[in-house]
Every structure is written in C-alpha cells, then in structure tokens.
C-alpha cells in the first residue's frame, strides 16, 4: 500500500510541473481524496503524459476513429498516406499510434470497429488497451484482434515521421536526437516542415543540426549556396552524401569536391589528434609501469624483475576493495589508490629486506633472485585468487567517452589514466626535488660513499626507495585495473616494456622516463594503422634495441658520478 501511495504522490508532483489541464485536476482530486482504486487509471494517464505533447489539443473520438480507419487497408501506399495524414493531424495520440504501428502493435478488433494497442506481445494472450482512450481493454489474442501489417518501405517512412514529430516536442535532448537523425533524411515532402521547425527552434545546438540537414538537402538539389553551411562539417552522413555528389556529374560537383576536401582535411587533423591521444594514453600506462622501476633501478642499480608482479598486486588490491564495497566502484577506486600503494610498497620493503640487500653489488644475481620472487608472487595469486581474469568495474565517471565532435572522442578511462599518470609523476618529482627523503635519495644515487660519510643512512634510504618504487608500481596497478582485466599474468606483459622505457629514457632520470614512455606510446600508435599492432610493437622494440646500442646512456644521460 505504501508503494502505491508514493506512486500517487510522484504522479501528483509530475503533473504539477505541467500545464494544468482538466486531467491534472482529476489527479489533484485523486490525491486529495486518496482513492487508491484509481491508481491503474492514473498509471495510464502517466503514460499519456509521457508520450503526448501537452501543446496538442485532443481531437474528437470520431475523428480519431476515422484517422485510424484509414490505416486499415491492404494497400501499402494508401497506408502510407494515412500515416502521413495522422502525422499532419492534431490528434494528441498520433506519436503513440505511429510508434505502435511501427512495432506492429496497432491492432483492430476482428469483429468490430475498435482499435487497440498491444502493450505486450510476448505471450499467447496479449494485454491490450484502447487505441483512442488508452483505457485498459483486457486481453486479446491472435484470434480476436488483427495487427496492422507494414512493409520495409513503410517502416522507413514511419521512422522518419516519428523523428519529425519528436522534433517539435520533448526536451532539448530528444529534439537534438531527432534533429541529428534527420541529416540525409530530408526529402521534398518534409523539407517545409523542417524549415518551419528551424524557425521555431531556439536551442542553438538543435538549430545547427537542422541547418545541416536542410543544407544537405539543398545541396543534393543542386544549390551551391547551401554548400557554405556544410563546409567543415564532420558528420559522416554529410561526408558520404557529398562524396556521392562529387563523383556524379552534377553541375556543382567541382564545388562539392572542394568542400569535401576541406572536410577530409579537417577530419584528418582530428584523426591525428585521436592517434596522439591514444598514443599518450598508451604511453602513460608505460610511464606508470616504468617510473617505479626508474626509481629502484636508477637509485639502487637494482634490477627488480618482480616489478610487474607488484603492479599486479596493486590491481588485485583494487579488485579486493571493490569486492568489499559492492555497488560503490567510485569510492572503492579512490580507496584503492592509497591501498594499492601501501600493499605493493609493503611487499617491496619485504623483498628488499629479505633478499635484495644481501645481493648488493651483484646486479645479475639480483635480477635472477627477483625473477624468482616474481614467479612465486604469480603462483601465489593464482593459488589464492584462481588463475582466471577478474573484472574491475569502472565508476560511472570513468565510463563512456567524451565526444568532442563527430571525429574526435576521448575514452574517459584512458583520459583518467593519462591524468593520473601526470599527477603521480608530478608528485614523485616534487618528492625527489623538495623533501628530505628526495635529497637523501639523490645524494645516495650520485655518490653512495660520500653520502654515507655525510651521515646519510644509505641502507634506510635503500629500503624506503625500494618501498617507494614498489608503491608506485601498485599505483600503476590501480590505474591498469581500469583499462584491462586483472589476472596473474598482468605484470609479466609490462615488464619488458618497462625496462626498455627506463633504459631508453636514461637510467635514474624521471623526465627521461616520462619522455621515453610517452614517445614510445605515440610511435606505437602512429605505426599501428600501417603495419598492425604486433608488428608495430616489434618495430618499436627493435628500434629501442638499436637506439641503446647507439646511445647506451639513454635519451637523458645522468649527471654526476653514478658509478
């Protein structure tokens, strides 16, 4: 009972937003007298409100019946005419009728004159409502009612009619949607209606779409003046239509060609922008994965082959926090940022204390031992969590894409990773530049013996540095969980790339890592359309190998004594 009550109240509120009509008065009375029995009727009214523009007046039932009757013919041309007549009439129910007709749910009583709308045609017995009053009319079946049939041609026409009907109604978003659908669909019959609509339209966005639709129609009719409106338009349909005209022997083909060239040029630039964005986002993943390595490798000269598994631990931390907070992926992700950092950092310190510090000055042995640790961590995750990939949900604000225009859209999760990467980089850089720890780290990097003699506790700095590098790997894992599945092999796929980025950028140089990661990402993306994803990667790998031969110190050589 309570739920129906709230429904009633909501209904009352909703009707309050609209212009007061006689029906709204009824609703108001209902609330006042709390007549629960009227709820079904009110539900019907709600539907009525949602579908019917309040600006339209109602026609008499006789007129409505006549309009529907015209549809009941086997001649599809006559049916199309009848549909157009309905669209042109001022019947309040016309959108619903046309939609029902399109769905094959407008039906006529077999023995009688009444028309029904089938609200659900899944079962054997269909619930039906009266087509004119929208009142509940019990159930019908294949035997008692005949659905009006349509063919493909009529279907297209109906879609167009419905689109132009919704142009004049609804909120801005619906109108914009309808206007967008009109591009390339305007024909001789509808052109006047669209032009009238354009005059009445106030929203600039909808106006722009309508103008494009009209201009495209006029150009198709051979009007060169309308070309101006289309120049620089990025819509695919505009481009395709123009291309057809340019290839035909129309009088304006040459001019269309010129405009088309301009459009192609503009699209090409946006596509380059898109490639750059993808490259930077791929590069930011590389930078995130590599930057922790740059710290441990650069500062301690330690090759940490378990770095990829620390990334994996960060990703699994995100997954686990999300399991603990079901339904709140946003909060879980925010908590995972410190969580991933701490978990991976703790593992890093554990590795440093238990293995790496005993292998000081033996980089090749360190490499092997940490590789062993990476195998153990991988198998640990496989045993504890199962070898299957886990999906980490993205919060709403990281889903979908930011559509800047027809040719350029930025996926939000990749954009998020890019921004996150830059923030992490800035934070690390500031840490290295301005804090006591950063100062000590730089001192130990440049000259370990000298730093120690000045009172820097090098062993402690080693431990913290390694923890920091591992923690940053954990952050990379948090970011990666948003763009790829989380599995035991997650880290392995990044380790080779990460090392190359560090070596390419110049060991011990954060800026070098940033530049190297970003440029490798962009180069990879630029090569991809030509040679395919795998070969692009191979070429980049070989390129970096050759580069290291030529310049073993990397892009940015470390300053000072690093030996």
């Amino acid at each position: 009972m309570t739920s129906t009550h709230t429904t009633t109240l909501r209904l009352g509120k909703k009707s309050g937003l609209r212009r007061v009509t006689g029906l709204n008065m009824v609703v108001g009375l209902n609330i006042a007298s709390r007549l629960w029995r009227c709820v079904p009727i009110m539900a019907v009214l709600l539907v009525w409100f949602a579908l019917v523009s309040p600006a339209q007046a109602e026609v008499t039932p006789q007129r409505a019946q006549a309009l529907l009757q015209a549809l009941d013919t086997n001649d599809f041309d006559a049916k199309a005419e009848a549909a157009k007549a309905i669209a042109a009439s001022d019947a309040a129910q016309k959108t619903r009728w046309l939609k029902a007709l399109l769905d094959g749910r407008l039906a006529r009583e077999r023995r009688g004159e009444r028309f029904y709308i089938i609200t659900d045609d899944s079962g054997r017995e269909w619930p039906i409502i009266d087509a004119i009053t929208f009142e509940d009319a019990g159930t019908g079946s294949r035997r008692s009612v005949d659905a009006l049939r349509i063919n493909n041609e009529l279907r297209t026409q109906l879609q167009r009619l419905i689109a132009s009907l919704s142009l004049g109604a609804g909120d801005e978003a619906t109108r914009l949607d309808a206007a967008k659908r009109l591009i390339g669909e305007v024909d001789a019959q509808s052109v006047d209606a669209v032009a009238t609509q354009l005059d009445n339209e106030e929203s600039p966005a909808v106006r722009a779409e309508l103008e494009t639709a009209l201009a495209l129609y006029r150009v198709e009719q051979g009007d060169a003046a309308a070309l101006e409106t289309l120049s620089g338009n990025l819509d695919t349909r505009v481009r395709n239509s123009l291309a057809t005209i340019a290839n035909s022997d129309a009088a304006i083909a040459a001019e269309v060609e010129k405009v088309l060239a301009g459009i192609e040029n503009k699209r090409a630039w946006y596509e380059r922008g898109q490639t750059l964005f993808f490259g930077l986002s791929a590069g930011s993943v590389l930078v995130l994965a590599a930057i922790g390595l740059a710290i441990t490798f650069g500062v301690m000269g330690v090759i940490n082959m378990a770095h990829g598994e620390l990334i994996m631990l960060g990703a699994y931390t995100t997954w686990m926090i999300q399991q603990l907070l079901p339904g709140q992926p946003g909060l879980a992700l925010l908590l995972a940022i410190p969580g991933g950092f701490l978990v991976a950092g703790a593992f890093g310190i554990l590795i440093e204390r238990s293995v790496i510090r005993f292998l000081k000055g033996r980089p090749l042995e360190t490499l092997l031992a940490t590789f062993g640790i990476s195998l153990i961590l991988q198998q640990l995750v496989r045993t504890v969590f199962s070898p299957l990939n886990r999906r980490v949900n993205s919060p709403d604000w990281l889903q979908g894409a930011w559509q800047i225009n027809e040719a350029l859209s930025l996926t939000l999760n990749r954009l998020g990773v890019l921004i996150f990467c830059l923030v992490v980089f800035a934070a690390l850089w500031a840490l290295m530049r301005y804090t006591r720890l950063g100062l000590e780290v730089r001192a130990v990097t440049q000259n370990r013996a000298m730093a120690r003699s000045m009172g820097v506790r090098a062993a402690r700095v080693d431990m913290l540095t390694f923890g920091l590098g591992a923690g940053v790997a954990g952050l990379a894992g948090v970011a990666l969980s948003q763009i790829t599945n989380v599995g035991p092999n997650l880290g392995q796929s990044y380790i080779v790339d990460s090392f190359l980025v560090v070596v390419f950028g110049g060991v011990g140089n954060l800026w070098g890592t940033l530049v190297a990661g970003m440029s490798l990402g962009v180069i990879n993306q630029v090569l991809q359309p030509w040679v395919g994803a795998v070969l692009a990667k191979v070429i980049v790998l070989v390129g970096v190998i050759l580069f290291i031969q030529k310049r073993p110190q990397g892009l940015f050589a470390p300053k000072g004594r690093t030996s």
């Binding site: 090759i303 293995v355 005993f358 292998l359 980089p363 090749l364 042995e365 360190t366 490499l367 092997l368 031992a369 590789f371 062993g372 640790i373 990476s374 195998l375 153990i376 991988q378 198998q379 640990l380 496989r382 045993t383 392995q492 080779v496 090392f499 190359l500 070596v503 395919g532 795998v534 070969l535 990667k537 191979v538 790998l541 070989v542 970096v544 190998i545 050759l546 290291i548 031969q549 030529k550 073993p552």
Partner: protein, 350 residues
C-alpha cells in the same frame, strides 16, 4: 678471490671432472640404448617415450652448455638464448614440414638436408653476429645487455606469433613425418635422435672444454673479471666476445634443431622470456663456470619439473621461484661449487 685464480687452482680437479662427465655421459647413453633394446616384457625395458624424454633433456643440457659458455666464462648474461634455440628449432621444423605442405615458396630451399643443417647453425649464428656486433661495439654490458637480449627474444616471440610470417603463427610448426627418409614415429628413430643428442652434448662439452682451456678461454675469463684491463693490455675484447657469443648461439641452434623432431612441435612459446631465464637458472643451480655443472643443473631441474608438474602442477612455479632465490643467495657457485667446497673440506680434514 678472483675466479681466474680459482680456476687455476682447480685445474686438476677440472681435469678429473671432464673425465668423469664424459664417462657418465657415454655410459648413460649406452645403458639407455641397451635397456631400450630389451624385449618389451622385460621389467627393465625403457619404452620409446621415455627415451624421447631423455633426449629432450639432452637438448636442454646442450642449451645450458651454450649459456654457461658465455655467462660462466665470459660474464655475459643472455636472457634471450631461447631465441637462438628456437631459431634452430624453426630451421629444423621448416625442413621437416617442407616435404609435406610447404608454408611458403621459399621453404622449398630448406627441403634439402644439407641446406637445412646449414640453416640450423647459420640462422642463430647470423642473428648473434649482427646483434652481438652492435652490442659489443658500443660496449653494452651487464644488466643492459641482459635486458636487450630479453627484449630481442620478446620481439621475436611477437613476430613469430604473426600468421603473416608464414611460420605457422601461434601454433608453430608441427606434424613432422620423416627425417632423412625415416619415419619419426618409430621407436628406432627415438633412439637414433637420443643418441644424436647425446653425441652432440659430448662433442659440445669437449669443444667448450677445449676453448676454455685454450688461450681464448683465458682471455674470456680475464674479460669477465676485468674487462678494462684486458682491453688495455691490447686484446680486442669485442672480437673475443663476439666470436664466443656467436659460437654459443650456434650450439643453442643445434640444440633447438635436435629438440624439434623429438618433441614434435616448435612454436613461439620457445621464444618466451620465461624459458630463456629458466635456462639461466639451470646453469646457476648446476654451477656457472663449470661446464659439467651446467649439464647437471639442466638435467636436475628438468627431471624435477617433469616429476612435479605431473604430481602437483601448482607447486612447480613456487619451487622454481624459490630455487632462483635460494641458489642466488646461498649457492652462488651452484651444486658444482658446493661439491668442490665439500671435497676441499674433506681434503683439508684428511
């Protein structure tokens, strides 16, 4: 204590180890052949699949020998030796599939055994020559070299996974029917390949022994311990490194060529960085800078791998990972070093 002086002191021991290793290898081979020749009802009979498995171990031992030659004696840690192994395997695989259904027109060239045999050593050799020449000339050493060798094998793995390479894509080359006119599915062929692998290991062992005991070997070890000094004395360190690196790659290629027909498949996973790094662990466990240690390590690790992956596959990676850590931390000289240490203690005691 530098390793070079240790080598000198242990030379007598080393002499003995060479004899022991050679004898163990030969006797082992003979025993396997004899046991296989026993009638199938006999309790001691070894069937063909076991012989093939042992043959596979032998090819791994050969690969370990190649890695030990450059890591143990030259100080170059290659994390991409699986690439040379796989290239040899692919050369052999292309020969084996050339008769049946050639993947591409140029494969016809490899249908002749002498050409294929040449390709087995030339393909890895050439890659090592170009790669090594570039790397050693610009003095890429230590971990940098390790990382770029890993990148090399990773890049090759990606490339061989492509179907456009005409190398069978990710499935690789398989369905080998006959070698030199003999069917590969017979038991006799298993034994023949096993013996061929054993002979290859024996020859490579003697060859590597000869090199390490020669003047070249001395220069190698000196380079490993103090590269700058050797260069200042007047040796062309790059040439020494390059020569030994190419030789090692060729040995790895031969190992791969013997591996492919015994296992019956060669695919891009052989290029995987993990496999290459596993080989390094065999050598580290057995004892680097002792050739018999590399052979011992490869045999031990692979035997236990076969045992464990059958019984409890989950435990294998834990054990392998633990092995990496334990060997590097507590057994820097491997099992061979441990044995030598124990023997010295006994000598001191007596």
């Amino acid at each position: 204590m530098s390793l070079a002086t240790m080598f000198k002191r242990n030379s007598l021991l080393d002499e003995r180890s060479t004899w022991i290793t050679s004898i163990v290898l030969i006797v082992g081979m003979l025993v396997v052949v004899v046991l296989n020749a026993l009638p199938p009802e006999h309790a001691w009979h070894l069937n063909g699949s076991v012989v093939t498995l042992l043959g596979k171990y032998l090819t791994y031992m050969l690969l370990a020998l190649a890695v030990d030659l450059i890591w143990g004696y030259l100080g170059i840690l290659s994390l991409g030796h699986g690439a040379f192994f796989a290239l040899g395997g692919y050369a052999m695989g292309l020969y084996l599939t050339a008769q049946e259904a050639p993947l591409a027109a140029w494969q016809g060239v490899l249908a002749y055994f002498p050409v294929a045999a040449l390709a087995v050593v030339l393909a890895p050799g050439l890659l090592a020559l170009v790669f090594g020449w570039l790397a050693f000339r610009s003095r890429v050493t230590g971990v940098y070299f390790s990382i770029i060798t890993q990148a090399l094998t990773f890049a090759l793995m990606l490339a061989f996974n492509r179907n456009e390479m005409d190398m069978g894509g990710s499935t690789g080359l398989t369905r080998f029917d006959e070698l030199l006119g003999f069917s590969l599915s017979t038991e006799g062929m298993s034994v023949a390949l096993f013996v061929a692998s054993g002979v290859a290991v024996l020859l490579a062992f003697w060859g590597c022994k000869a090199i390490t005991r020669s003047r070249l070997g001395r220069v190698c070890m000196a380079t490993r311990d103090a590269e700058a000094r050797v260069r200042f004395i007047g040796y062309r360190v790059e040439h020494v490194k390059l020569a030994v690196f190419v030789l090692s790659a060729m040995i790895a290629g031969i190992a791969g060529a013997l591996y492919a027909p015994q296992v019956g498949i060669i695919n891009p996973s052989t290029f995987a960085p993990l496999f290459s790094i596993e080989v390094v662990v065999w050598v580290a466990l057995g004892g680097r800078a002792t050739l018999y240690g590399a052979l011992l390590g490869a045999l031990l690790v692979n035997y236990f791998k076969t045992l464990l992956t059958g019984v409890m596959p989950d435990a294998w990676l834990f054990l392998l990972g633990g092995l990496f850590v334990v060997v590097t931390m507590f057994l820097p000289q491997g099992v061979a070093g441990l044995m030598a240490h124990l023997r010295r203690r006994r000598e001191v005691a007596s």
